[in-house]
């Protein structure tokens, strides 16, 4: 007698910017199944109009983040067996961002804040010049390296209660990136960037609750980066440079 395939009960948020609700689907359970596999199965077999976003499927591109059973996660590397609650999954778009449709969050506000934080590299040399020599184990390079592996997935931004309570706050990802650049000796905009991250929506708004660090799929600690920016801004203020 053939064994019956166990089923997962999957509630997926369906809707638009004006509102929506959860729709429940039964999805065949498989070994080593990821949450993204589940969403893809629903889209291919039950709801062809389901909107969701993914690209690389291997945890590099940062495009498949969703809220899974109440927590923001990268769905391509999240195994169902680790997050299912009594055979049930609840999947929703990321928190703290507007919804485009179904599971797709609008990331514009997230990336706009990267620009506001001046979290982009400002080169000081042209390609015609010799590349600058970087001492790999210098304190600055070590600080930058510890925070550099961000994949822009917005999981930390969705996890951050300070962002939820204060929409003007730049958030952990933009500030974490700014911190890596503040420690990059090749960068030529560090004074301007420090002003940008020390303003009203800047690093002073972080309450060090560490929701970002607890949820970052790459194990980064944006709270520590923001604490570094706070120290840097405080020193600049005391020296009259801010």
């Amino acid at each position: 007698m053939q064994k019956e395939t166990p089923l997962l009960e999957v509630a997926i948020w369906r809707g638009s910017p004006t509102g929506g609700a959860f729709t429940t689907y039964s999805v065949p359970r498989q070994d080593s199944q990821t949450v993204l596999d589940v969403v893809s199965w629903v889209q291919r077999n039950r709801a062809p109009d389901l909107a969701y976003r993914f690209a690389c499927r291997v945890g590099m591109c940062g495009s498949c983040a969703m809220t899974v059973n109440g927590r923001p996660r990268w769905t391509c590397r999240t195994h169902v067996e680790k997050v299912a609650n009594a055979g049930r999954l609840e999947i929703a778009p990321l928190r703290n961002l507007p919804v485009v449709r179904d599971l797709v969050a609008d990331l514009d506000p997230f990336f706009d804040k990267w620009q506001t934080a001046e979290a982009r590299f400002a080169p000081t040399r042209t390609r015609a010049e010799e590349p600058e020599r970087i001492v790999p184990d210098s304190p600055e390079r070590s600080a930058a390296n510890a925070a550099i592996e961000c994949i822009n997935c917005a999981v930390c931004y969705a996890a951050c209660d300070a962002v939820a309570l204060n929409p003007a706050y730049l958030g952990p990802a933009a500030l974490n990136r700014a911190w890596t650049l503040q420690n990059d000796s090749r960068d030529g905009a560090r004074a301007e960037r420090l002003k940008a991250v020390a303003g009203d929506g800047g690093c002073g708004n972080c309450h060090s609750q560490q929701g970002c660090a607890a949820h970052c799929p790459n194990g980064l600690n944006p709270t520590a980066s923001i604490a570094g920016l706070k120290r840097m801004a405080a020193r600049a203020l005391l020296k009259g440079r801010l």
Binding site: L165, N166, Y169, A198, G199, G204, N205, A233, A234, L242
Partner: protein, 109 residues
């Protein structure tokens, strides 16, 4: 809402407050266990530059620290922003300075 300037002011005021809180607790314990009555306490504090400075600085640090802390709470939980938030912060600081200053004046002058 909380610039680095306000963040630094709150941290410095906390730094100032920490030893003053310990000093105040020590004074309270000494006064209570030593059985000093109000007249004896006032006898020591009236005209004292030391106690006036100690508690004057305490009131100043508390006024700065609490006003900034309440600013963050009011902005995040009640949604107050912009000019209204600035007015709230300054009013809180002024209120604490005034009431605290009156209390210090009452025991020192």
């Amino acid at each position: 809402m909380l610039s680095a300037r306000l963040y630094l002011a709150q941290r410095i005021s906390a730094l100032v407050m920490a030893p003053l809180v310990l000093g105040h607790l020590a004074v309270t314990i000494v006064a209570v266990r030593g059985g000093l009555d109000a007249a004896e306490i006032l006898g020591r504090t009236r005209g004292s530059l030391l106690w006036g400075g100690f508690y004057g600085l305490f009131v100043l640090a508390v006024s700065v620290h609490a006003a900034i802390g309440l600013r963050a709470i009011v902005a995040e939980h009640l949604g107050l922003r912009g000019r209204g938030l600035d007015i709230f912060t300054w009013a809180t600081m002024a209120g604490l300075l005034l009431t605290g200053g009156r209390a210090v004046a009452a025991v020192v002058l």
